[in-house]
Symmetry: C2
Subunit: 201 residues, 2 copies
């Protein structure tokens, strides 16, 4: 009875093929400039085949973004090691978040800007990968509060402030590359340190 399993494996393989073709095109040419036909051409299948694996173009985007969030989460999890200095860890996490966005600017925009436009149901639902990323942030912040380093006792608000700061600078740097920014690393560091300092007791 290995037939069904082999078939399922083959199906999954093609699904992944579609997904990675889509990601590559989305990233290189922009979501709006990628047609289902282009994706189909790339994988050498007819356009309609894609619809056997994904509901529509937005669903394809959705799946690509889910992967991106998993990558982001993975990147962040690697930093969680030392709880001794939670502020340092929070700062490093913030930097890692921003750098993730700058290393994969198109993926970041797809996930945090383009997708919300097409998927009103956001994708930060309970149990989602997006929620896990924010949970990670909550944990970091919670540690800082528990150790009495932060003056605010509200984990939620504090986390959201932190997210605002890193999200803001990431998007600005991506969207306005020609703006006369301060030296990039300096700006990033200042954003993080300013926010953390502002949160301290």
């Amino acid at each position: 009875m290995g037939v069904k399993e082999r078939r399922a494996r083959e199906k999954e393989q093609l699904r992944q093929q579609i997904l990675s073709a889509a990601r590559e095109l989305f990233v290189n040419e922009g979501y709006e400039n990628v047609s289902m036909r282009k994706i189909a051409n790339k994988i050498e299948y007819s356009p309609t085949t894609i619809y056997l694996y994904f509901a529509d173009k937005a669903d394809l985007l959705d799946s690509v973004c889910k992967e991106t969030l998993l990558n982001l989460l993975n990147t962040l999890e690697h930093l969680k090691s030392d709880i001794s200095d939670p502020v340092e860890t929070l700062g490093k996490s913030g930097r890692a978040y921003i750098e993730f966005g700058l290393n994969y600017p198109q993926d970041y925009k797809l996930t945090f800007v383009i997708r919300p436009q097409y998927q009103k149901g956001l994708g930060l639902d309970e149990g989602s990968v997006g929620e896990k990323v924010f949970d990670y942030l909550r944990e970091m912040v919670s540690e800082c509060i528990q150790q009495g380093i932060f003056h605010q006792t509200d984990v939620e608000t504090t986390s959201q402030v932190m997210w605002s700061a890193v999200h803001g600078v990431t998007l600005l740097l991506i969207d306005f590359p020609d703006f006369p920014w301060t030296e990039k690393d300096k700006l990033i560091d200042t954003v993080i340190h300013t926010t953390i300092k502002g949160l301290k007791a």
Copy 2:
């Protein structure tokens, strides 16, 4: 010789008509979901007429965004009155900026997110309205630094940090309306106060 002037006036009138029809549709239905034909229908002209007034759809978006930036600038200029307490003014300006974004979320996104995607030449060029908005921010910050309230002496970096914070929270609130945000006003205030506190000497 008033003929030419009347003609010019009529042309300008139609240009404005197209522009406001475009804005209304962009805002209500989203840039991607608005076709040139829809705009044309609304103003009861043929689709190609639009091309006599605007180079293409992106140019139309560009013009709409310029108006938005003018509105934003105007909103901010009204707060510049009292220089006695520059930190207070900066805080109020930050709040006004965020509230502008939340009051006209679609306009804000068009200007600061959608447009950069289509117009690689950004629109914060020298002499542009966008630059004037940032100049306003620079002035506020500069005042705070000159009075020795802020510890950083770098106006640029400090302004950019401020911009990151307000831009970040604005976009997050717009893009993820279903996220379990802290009470909105509290979040906004905390973002502003945290950033300002972090910048203080």
